[in-house]
């Protein structure tokens, strides 16, 4: 965790001292903002802070960061217990629920409606639903990510496929990967970044759900969950998917030794840098499940939640959150990360990102599948991280061919049921 003053805040200090009249006119407010994953998000927050300081020179922002989303959640929970919360915190979309259930996140709807109808400001219903838990608006989405296809088009061509007309469903992509493995000079066909998030992505893609709507029982142990694990099994058996992890697979892809890599759009910036001019690098939407027109995608990313108690700080924190989620703020976010913007106006109105997407087509794959974004389901209770691990570990058994999809799914269901809160 690091605490630092922004460069602008430091520069603003002597300016404020030199202009006492101006400083008196409007009292400067200092707010503390927390976010996770600085290695991915820092450029976007830096850009937004700089633009925000031009609009609101009297609001100074101190940043606190944590390396990952779970650490960020842990930090805020600890601070909530000791009454040292920051004024604003950006939490992982699937971890927001923890704060909604404990009443730590404040309802943002009163703030949003103060400035008019939500949709008119770009807060569409679909986007708002990503941050709604326990029946209130616990967070405003700041960045959204879905899984996409990272393609080595050179290898696809060598395997006899036309990269401009690739199949769009999983059956086709499995054929592609098998052909790459067989014909593209020893490269591997594909790597699917298996994890709880990707498991959920495929369950939703099959039209299934993680829990029943009333959350009384799990719902992933049926046909959709089985089809999901069978798909994992096919990756291994039909394309000889290598045993890698996200790190080593990224290295293999950058080295041009992997045909297709299915992972989050969040890493597109890092991939552009690591691939360089090495090969014809493209991004495509994630393949769909044939015959399931209503399949959706689990949406990762972050949302800002309000934790300020002091009225002046709360007002300043809202101004920053509103700016960060405004069309202008979201355009800056999208350009300085690989994420999908979370403001409908920033997406629909070409003045914000039109030119950027034309010049940077690799950023566009996730945007084209925006209509299929669905909330990343967060399990109720305090065992969320353990449940995530139980799902990931049982998926690993299928990936390593240590268990059949049927056995792994049954074990997964038993373990997750045991970890869910007991209901009478």
């Amino acid at each position: 965790m690091t605490i630092r003053l922004t460069r602008r805040a430091v520069l603003a200090l002597p300016a404020a001292l030199a202009l006492p009249g101006l400083a008196r006119a409007q009292q400067p407010v200092e707010i503390t903002v927390h976010y996770a994953q600085p290695f991915i998000f820092k450029p976007s927050y830096d850009a937004i802070t700089e633009a925000f300081a031009r609009v609101e020179p009297n609001i100074r922002i101190n940043y606190v960061t944590s390396p990952g989303y779970p650490e960020g959640t842990q930090l805020l929970l600890r601070q909530a217990a000791t009454n040292q919360l920051p004024d604003l915190s950006f939490q992982g979309l699937n971890l927001l629920r923890v704060f909604a259930e404990r009443g730590i996140a404040q309802d943002l709807m009163p703030f949003v409606t103060r400035d008019g109808a939500p949709a008119a400001q770009g807060y569409s219903e679909g986007l708002l639903s990503l941050g709604r838990f326990s029946n209130y608006q616990a967070g405003l989405p700041y960045a959204a990510s879905t899984a996409i296809t990272f393609l080595n088009a050179d290898l696809a061509r060598r395997a006899g496929f036309d990269p401009d007309n690739l199949p769009t469903d999983w059956d086709g992509h499995i054929r592609l990967a098998a052909a790459v493995k067989e014909r593209a000079g020893g490269a591997d066909g594909m790597w699917f970044a298996w994890s709880e998030w990707m498991f959920q992505t495929l369950v939703l893609g099959h039209g299934g759900r993680m829990m029943t709507p009333d959350e009384r029982d799990i719902a992933f142990d049926g046909a959709e969950g089985l089809a999901t694990l069978r798909l994992h099994d096919r990756y291994v058996r039909e394309t000889q998917m290598p045993a890698l992890n996200a790190n080593t697979a990224s290295q293999a892809f950058a080295a041009g030794r992997l045909g297709a890599f299915y992972w989050t759009t969040a890493v597109v910036r890092n991939f552009i840098q690591s691939v360089g001019q090495g090969f014809d690098f493209r991004t495509l939407p994630l393949p769909v499940v044939a015959g399931v027109p209503n399949g959706t995608l689990a949406t990762g990313g972050a949302a800002g939640m309000m934790t300020a108690r002091d009225p002046a700080k709360r007002e300043a924190a809202w101004k920053f959150l509103r700016f960060a989620t405004s069309p202008q703020g979201q355009a800056l976010m999208a350009m300085n990360s690989g994420y999908v913007p979370c403001n409908q106006l920033a997406i629909d109105d070409p003045q914000y990102l039109g030119a950027f997407y034309r010049q940077n087509p690799l950023f566009q794959a996730a945007v084209t599948q925006m209509a299929r974004q669905a909330p990343w389901f967060a399990f109720p209770g305090s065992n969320g991280v353990r449940i995530t691990q139980a799902i990931t570990n049982n998926t690993a058994r299928v990936i390593e061919s240590k268990a059949t999809p049927e056995v792994a799914l049954a074990d997964m269901a038993t373990e997750v049921r045991r970890l869910l809160p007991r209901r009478s």
Binding site: Q74, A81, A243, L244, N245, T248, A252, V385, N393, A396
Partner: protein
């Protein structure tokens, strides 16, 4: 610590000197109390509570955490993996270091060079080295598998397959430990008087192996004992390579004791449970030290 305390004991007619002595060892005593003894005591106490990070209160639950440990599949896997790891790393790195030490000691030239070469892993940064290992052992673009492919062998996914991950980590552990053990053995070897070897030769022990068996090995006893203990303790402590390279995966195949302690405490916030795992770890280390001082010590010191 005990030596410094003994020195500070007042002697006849030297009251001032004793006081000065006491004052001199006060900083070290304070640091020992504050930085080592008190935190250890706090961990021991925490192990009997259900304290969770951020929780407003904690309750005394006696042996509850330890009962849970007995039934915890994850902990059992971690304990088993740690024991497997130690049982590979300790013997191989000790025997390997002894063999290397004998070779270097017998060499006419280049002793300093070899000593430095083999000692390098000990002074290098474990996290940075782990990244280098990740590249070397990369299943598809790593040099190790590229070399294997030259001989027509399809190399395994060293660090990402549950069949080989523990072996690969153990290999890295051996690589780290062998240089340290080598230096200890070299020091032990130089302490053996040359005359004993010459005397043995005069007495008709002509083969090098017999001289090793009858002279070197018995006289190296105290060194070997120390090396065995320190290697085992260091191996039980394995953490950085796991945290950097595998995070305990895939499917817990490389979950080790300290990594479980870390995730329980700092991912799941269960500090009480995490402290209980720490106590188990502490018990293992203490048992190893007792083994050294009580049992084996008597058998390697002569006279």
């Amino acid at each position: 610590m005990s030596e410094t305390m003994a020195l500070a004991r007042p002697r006849l007619g030297a009251g001032g000197e004793a006081l000065a002595g006491l004052m001199l060892c006060l900083p070290a005593t304070l640091a020992y109390l504050l930085l080592l003894l008190l935190p250890t005591l706090a961990a021991v106490l925490l192990a009997f509570t259900d304290y969770e990070l951020g929780a407003p209160a904690l309750a005394w639950i006696g042996l509850g955490n330890f009962e849970e440990l007995l039934g915890d599949q994850g902990f059992r896997i971690a304990l088993r993996n740690t024991l497997v790891y130690v049982s590979i790393v300790a013997p191989v790195s000790i025997a390997g270091a002894l063999a290397l030490a004998l070779l270097i000691e017998a060499a006419a030239r280049g002793r300093a060079l070899f000593r430095a070469v083999f000692f390098l892993p000990v002074v290098s940064l474990p996290v940075a080295m782990a990244t280098a290992w990740q590249y070397l052992l990369h299943p598809t673009i790593g040099p190790v598998n590229a070399v294997l492919a030259q001989f027509g062998v399809a190399g395994p996914a060293w660090l990402t397959s549950s069949d080989t991950v523990l072996l690969s980590l153990a290999f890295i552990g051996i690589w780290e430990a062998i240089g340290f053990n080598l230096v200890l053995f070299l020091a032990g070897l130089t302490a053996i008087p040359r005359e004993l070897h010459q005397a043995a030769e005069v007495d008709g022990v002509t083969s090098a192996w017999e001289r090793f068996r009858l002279v070197t090995w018995p006289l190296l006893g105290p060194t070997t004992l120390f090396v065995v203990t320190i290697t085992m303790i260091r191996a039980v402590r394995v953490f950085d390579s796991v945290a950097v390279l595998t995070q305990g995966g895939p499917n817990r195949a490389s979950e080790v004791l300290l990594y479980t302690m870390y995730t329980e405490g700092f991912t799941f916030f269960r500090l009480g449970y995490s402290a209980a795992i720490t106590l188990v770890f502490l018990a293992i280390v203490l048992a190893l030290m007792l083994l050294q001082t009580k049992v084996l010590d008597k058998r390697v010191h002569y006279g």
